[in-house]
Point group: C2
Chain length 446, copies 2
């Protein structure tokens, strides 16, 4: 008799590749003490009933109801944690006003531990409740708040990647909210790395510190160079924004005479552990560079509508095997749900495909062959995110970490429904209320 | 002492015009026995406390909690009621396949009263739960199902406008799902009008029958002419689709040598009681015609992404004083929530404004001055819908019908928040779970 920690009995969906979703009805997902999927037993397998009986006897069997299904937990590749109180606010303002009047003043408040704890604990819990088991966070400039974010991730057993935000360029940052100097920024980044290591001691799911230059405009060349070195020294993930908007894209060209991606690359900031947010204005050369380096893109479809100035050509990127995952980009995006971003990714891609302006003739209006499906988007929200963070999760697969969600359909089916239909409805209609349970590394956290 | 049926005490938001939203804190919305807002008493008014005390004594005071606000109920101008079981399905199929394989077979099932009752009762309840107090429905070809829809509206006290769908053109409709002839279609339409009148007897909120040619391709000229006459004879609202897609737009030009809107107009189907769905491909001449006739447009932003081939220029239409309301277009749209359509209306308008294709230079990429705000979209969901249906509702205003919703913020504020911020967060984040109560004509129905 094999002792599993938990045996989940029910139907599941998991991405096989960017175009295919696998489905198994009434299977057994057997999770071991380490929180790994040790074995998947299908309905017809010989020892199916033996394993069910053993698990029943040991009290480790969790049977899904007929209307529940098991999915991999989602991976959110881009969250500005301190912007959580502003989600849904001021989205009709231009970027600079949004930053100067709403975003920077709020982020500056996270030097207070008490406030940071209040906000971050709610955010981490909210993301988990929405089925997001892993998140890659931008913190704030000040480490007091950042450490509270780390503690919240640890307390809730959420897989967290957290970066101390670096912004030391006095020309593009307000006096009340910036690193004092490149040296100070690098020291604080290194301190953060060590403090996270301390907090991680004896934790099941350690938090990973992330090298985080906010974006090119807010950073001096000195700090970018230093951060590239720190990333190499500690072998850490890197996150930033890249070619998010016409403005940002143009900034690099004006100040450095080079593409945004080229500058980041020259400072050692584009590696196979890098995740760059947005990328809506990346050109062919940038994309080739991302592919060569193994850089992941955080596709933030809701936020991109407000600040991206174009639609990320996700279908093209997926077909070229560029790593692409999904990001909510709180609070450039208003919704903490990856489901909602899956839907917007599909919708934005259709508008890229068909075009938007009725005064242009149909043949010239759109881009054609740009529309993605619910399956493509689900792949990004799971496998694409996992590949970007080099994690063995995002799939229901033997040997993979059991970061999972159990969801039910929002509305009645009024009759028979094939599994493909169930999958589409889940992608289109699931909200936080339909997510019954969430598990990270084999432990139920919702 | 004046006896009000209900006095709602709390904050409210209501659209003043397409650009402005009014807000009052701690006001009294006094509703009389007819379900009309008889008086609005503001916090500073002389008799405020007297009215509060009287209402308390009579047990008619309903005080909102600090985090609740009162909003007008939403008006959904376009719902295909029999497509409800398919919401969220098959959206990546081309229109023709979507109709032939998914939509027509499902709609044909509504000749069974039992099935129709099951689906429609759930739909009507779902829309009410989502804050939609009025809906304009396409039924199906068969009146058995249509009368079940009328009964569900009456049973749930939902303000319903229901049409028997007419489609008699054998070239564009399947044999198993069409009117037998133009004469049969017209007789059935007239029967439906009479049967609705019978069901309406002694009902507080009668259902309005609606003249409903499905769209130009599915109708013969004979039936269109006859429907125009019936609309005039009974002075009834009219609904159809107009210039929804390149295909539909092109159909009229090919078969009639005229614009879609011109053909409908010539058959007497464009009046100040007409609501035309989508209109994404309307040209300047069509829009002028809509304005001249007083036709309303059902803006269905989610559905338009899948089937509209372009983005409705809502800002332009609003600035030209064309009537525009919101529609969910179940199941061309996947979501029964008008809130979700408000969000997509904003997002699609931003993509129209900025453009979608990063390979086009910024100055040529978008349409510019096309982005709408949350306030514009809220106006469409309330006042725009009410104007399109010629209803004295959609605003919190003396003399208007009390179709209202009481909602609370989804997430904590983490501190002070100005009313404008609260409004934006409500528009961006409200789901069915945050809608605490819904009232139609002064009666709580949720």
């Amino acid at each position: 008799m094999i002792n599993y920690k938990t045996v989940l009995q029910g139907s599941y969906y998991t991405a096989i590749d960017e175009n295919q979703v696998g489905h198994q009805a009434n299977s057994l997902v057997c999770i071991n003490d380490e929180g790994t999927i040790a074995r998947i037993v299908l309905a017809g397998d010989d020892d199916y009933q033996v394993i069910v009986n053993d698990a029943k006897q040991q009290g480790t069997l969790v049977s899904l109801s007929d209307d529940q299904v098991l999915l991999p937990g989602f991976i959110d590749l881009h969250v500005h944690a301190p912007q959580w109180p502003n989600s849904g606010l001021a989205l009709d303002r231009p970027l600079y006003e949004w930053l100067e009047e709403y975003t920077f003043p709020l982020e500056a408040k996270f030097k207070e531990a008490k406030y940071a704890h209040l906000v971050y604990d709610n955010l981490v819990e909210t993301l988990l409740a929405n089925g997001t088991t892993t998140a890659l966070y931008f913190g704030s400039v000040d480490n007091t708040g950042n450490l509270e974010l780390v503690k919240s991730c640890l307390a809730h057993q959420k897989r967290g990647f957290v970066g101390k935000v670096v912004m030391d360029n006095p020309e593009q940052t307000p006096a009340y909210y910036r690193d004092e100097s490149a040296t100070a920024a690098l020291n604080e980044t290194e301190n953060f790395i060590h403090e996270v290591a301390t907090l991680n001691e004896n934790q099941t799911i350690p938090v990973t510190p992330v090298i985080t230059p906010r974006f090119l405009p807010s950073c001096t060349d000195d700090v970018l160079a230093g951060l590239g070195k720190l990333a190499a020294k500690y072998d850490l993930p890197i996150q930033s924004h890249c070619s998010e908007s016409d403005w940002e894209n143009g900034y690099a060209l004006t100040t450095h005479g080079k593409r945004d991606a080229t500058v980041l690359d020259e400072f050692g900031l584009l590696t196979d552990k890098s995740v760059m947010a947005h990328g809506t204005l990346l050109n062919g050369e940038d994309i080739q560079r991302f592919k060569d380096r193994g850089v992941g893109i955080a596709h933030c479809p809701i936020s991109n509508v407000y600040f991206g100035n174009a639609v990320l050509p996700a279908k093209k990127l997926l077909s070229e095997n560029v790593k692409v995952g999904m990001g909510t980009d709180i609070s450039g995006g208003y919704d903490p749900s990856v489901y909602q971003n899956i839907r917007q990714a599909i919708m934005s891609s259709r508008l890229l495909n068909d075009g938007v302006d009725s005064e242009i003739t149909p043949d010239l209006r759109g881009k054609h062959d740009a529309a993605i499906t619910a399956k493509n988007a689900f792949y990004m929200a799971t496998v694409g995110g996992a590949k970007s963070l080099n994690l063995a999760t995002g799939q229901i697969k033997e040997g993979y970490i059991a970061d999972l969600q159990i969801v039910h359909a929002k509305y009645p089916t009024f009759g028979q429904q094939v599994p493909e239909d169930t999958f589409e409805k889940l992608m289109y209609q699931t909200t936080v209320s339909e997510i019954d349970h969430v598990m990270t590394q084999g432990v139920f956290v919702k």
